[in-house]
């Protein structure tokens, strides 16, 4: 666990409690607490009702990410991101179909419909797994996303469907959205330019 992983996790969550931070990082809360205290002490994190990144922390994180990017094969990462874009469209269509049925909010009273939508998640997971692995070959910290996607998928399989798309927990969509952000940054792009070109939707 490095300054970078902690700052990046807090930044992706926006505001996060210490226990949730340790959980999303897959770390023991005590180990995590020491790094957090140090970052709070140096003014890079703000400790209040929840942790958040200070303006200095944001600048420092940008530097860390820039130097991290220099170590990687950017062509390999761009390829991985290109593949992610295709499966991203498929995943979000799936989530939208889960939320809406015939343009109306899905009342989840049609088990066949719901089952057919959820069945598509396995295909998406199957496609995204090697993409995450390829990206993690360049940036090993991204391996954590495989574990988090798998954990969310397992819960959905166990019938806890809120782990598909509920915000504020590490649901499949939450993890996916953060992974998407990581890949945009690692490929040296910005979400703004990606949104404009229609890929970050």
């Amino acid at each position: 666990m490095t300054e970078l992983t902690v700052l990046q996790a807090v930044r992706l969550k926006g505001r996060v409690g210490r226990a949730d931070l340790a959980a999303t990082l897959g770390q023991d809360p005590n180990d995590c607490g020491a790094v957090v205290d140090q970052l709070v002490g140096s003014g890079l994190l703000i400790d209040g009702k929840a942790l958040r990144v200070s303006p200095d922390g944001r600048a420092h994180l940008e530097e860390l990410l820039t130097s991290e990017r220099r170590q990687i094969d950017s062509a390999a990462l761009s390829t991985a991101y290109g593949e992610f874009r295709a499966v991203n469209a498929e995943f979000k269509a799936l989530v939208t179909d889960w939320q809406l049925k015939d343009g109306q909010p899905n009342t989840h009273q049609d088990p066949d419909y719901d089952a057919a939508v959820l069945a598509r998640l396995d295909g998406v997971h199957h496609r995204v797994t090697p993409i995450v692995a390829a990206a993690a070959a360049q940036l090993p910290r991204l391996n954590r996303y495989s574990a988090k996607l798998q954990a969310a998928l397992d819960k959905v399989h166990a019938g806890e469907t809120m782990w598909l798309s509920r915000p504020l927990i590490d649901s499949y969509h939450t993890v996916w959205f953060e992974l998407h952000e990581e890949l945009i940054l690692a490929a040296g792009l910005t979400r703004e330019s990606e949104a404009k070109s229609g890929h970050a939707q």
Binding site: G14, T96, E181, A200, Q201
Partner: protein, 525 residues
């Protein structure tokens, strides 16, 4: 006598909408009444149904008749398809028995080749010919799925096949399933001579309603695009103008259009939505159908049409569904309030509901404002994962970029927030700090805090008037008070029981809803 597979829509096609399709039937009716409609023929819905089972054999069997009908269009327009100095272009449109707006495919401007483009350039301008050909190739590519062939007749044949096949497109299937429409059968195809709203500045295209379908006001309503084609108007990608602009620019055309709208309304005994094109100062009507309307308009228009003598009391009641009344009794943004507030932005409706508040463009500022007790609308260029805390405190969400499946849309729906996405660049800046209302049903952001309000059976004059009519027509008269048995619910079962036990008068908390139910039960039995 069996019905021919190809029927000219010259005003003498006596077949019903089930055969001609809704669109074809409307075209034939307009021509019969002397309205200016470009010549057209239709391939019947029965052929459309056969096509689904045996595509190749079906097209082959009718092709000679399609060619004959094309000869008739050529004669009627003094133009020639695919050749000559005055080339004929056609549109190929879907048309099911029941109108399914936008669900199936349509192609415009068919019949192009290099020589046709040259001939059109001589008739109009090079720019017009190029623009029209570009529209054709775009449509063709999108609908048929491949580059357009050079042979105009092959264009026609593949387009007809594609339109027939669009009956089974996922969105058409979903639409029929949602509206409880029959999945059997197929669509008719209408082939119509093109007229061009894009030929010069004295031209244009638009949609006009014989009365306002949102508020129900008795005034023409609609929009048009000078120098545009019909597909521009419905695409939502160009800024169309209110129909009043046509009155200023081409008053004679406007008067003719309004008079045609009134004629069609009278003939159909219902408010009409009419697609039109103006080609170099000449008005052409392309299709007419009963206007889709809001619940408010459904009630007001039923009362107006009855007061105007176009429909009787029983029909006025049939025009109002219980679902309309139930919707009106729920708090909602009334259309007249919505339309009177300035429109600040439009985008895709991504999270249903209506929400008002002050627009904040930064997450931290939004959270601080919410902590102070303000109603917050979060407006972002796009959304990043960390925007979630801003979305959480916001009542409504607006983004510049992103589609209906964007992360912002997904999260808004999860949180149950009203959301409009993809409003275009500059919206963040233009909305910042303003008090706005986000209408996640219409996909609009309007100026100011717009209050929601509900109608009531007791106090809204329109509902009282409708209830008075219902008491004259319904086999069960329901009153708000009086010395009658109490009807505790207005469900079908409760109303049926009351009628079966011989009651003619009851007291109900929702008299109108109870009577609409009684009238329906009486009519189906």
């Amino acid at each position: 006598m069996s019905i021919p597979p190809v029927i000219l829509l010259d005003g003498d096609a006596t077949s019903p909408p089930e055969v001609l399709g809704h669109k074809g039937h409307g075209i034939d009716m307009m021509r019969r009444n002397g309205l200016p409609v470009p010549p057209a023929f239709c391939i019947t819905a029965e052929v459309g149904a056969r096509f689904r089972a045996e595509p190749a054999a079906t097209i082959e069997a009718i092709w000679d008749e399609v060619l004959d009908a094309m000869r008739t269009l050529e004669a009627a327009t003094s133009r020639t398809f695919g050749r000559g100095s005055h080339p004929l272009l056609v549109s190929v449109r879907s048309g099911a028995a029941v109108s399914m707006p936008g669900m199936m495919d349509t192609l415009l401007d068919l019949g192009f080749s290099d020589s046709v483009e040259k001939a059109l350039a001589v008739q109009g301008t090079t720019g017009f010919a190029r623009d029209t050909r570009r529209r054709f190739t775009d449509w063709y590519q999108r609908i048929v799925g491949g580059p357009a062939p050079d042979d105009p007749y092959l264009q026609l044949r593949t387009a007809i096949e594609a339109v027939f096949a669009s009956w089974d497109s996922p969105r058409a299937v979903a639409y029929r399933s949602h509206h409880g429409l029959d999945d059997r059968g197929g669509t008719a195809v209408v082939v119509q001579a093109m007229v061009f709203g894009n030929i010069n500045t004295n031209s244009g295209a638009g949609v006009v309603f014989s009365r306002n379908p949102m508020t129900g006001a008795n005034e023409e309503f609609g929009e048009w695009l000078p120098g545009g084609q019909g597909d521009d108007v419905v695409s939502g990608t160009v800024d169309v103008q209110p129909i009043a602009g046509l009155r200023t620019r081409q008053p004679a055309v406007y008067d003719e259009l309004v008079s045609a709208a009134r004629t069609l309304e009278r003939l159909a005994a219902d408010v009409q939505e009419i697609e039109f094109t103006i080609q170099d100062g000449t008005l052409w009507l392309l299709q007419t159908r009963a206007a889709k309307r809001s619940a408010q308009a459904a009630v007001r228009l039923a009362l107006q049409l009855r007061n105007d003598g176009l429909i009787d009391e029983a029909e006025a009641l049939r025009r109002v569904a219980p679902a309309h009344v139930e919707a009106l009794l729920q708090p909602s943004l009334q259309p007249e309030n919505r339309l009177s507030a300035k429109l600040l932005a439009t985008g895709l409706p991504a999270g249903p509901g209506v929400a008002s508040g002050r627009a904040y463009t930064e997450v931290d500022a939004a959270i601080d404002a919410a902590d102070r007790g303000e109603d917050v609308i979060l407006v972002r260029h796009h959304t990043s994962p960390d925007d979630i805390h801003g979305m959480l405190v916001a009542r409504g969400i607006v983004t510049e970029t992103g589609g209906a499946t964007s992360h912002a849309a997904v999260v808004s729906r999860e949180l149950g927030r009203a959301a409009v996405v993809g409003c275009g660049s500059g919206v963040t800046e233009s909305l910042a700090g303003k008090l706005v209302t986000v209408d996640g049903n219409a996909g609009e952001v309007r100026d100011g805090i717009l209050r929601l309000s509900a109608w009531s059976e007791d106090n809204t004059p329109e509902l009282r008037e409708l209830a008075d009519i219902a008491r004259r027509v319904s086999p069960l008269r329901a009153h708000t008070r009086g010395d009658y048995p109490q009807l505790t619910r207005h469900s079908e079962a409760a109303v049926r029981t009351a009628m079966a036990s011989g009651h003619s008068d009851v007291v109900s908390a929702s008299p109108l809803l109870a009577m609409l139910e009684a009238i329906r039960l009486n009519e189906v039995s």
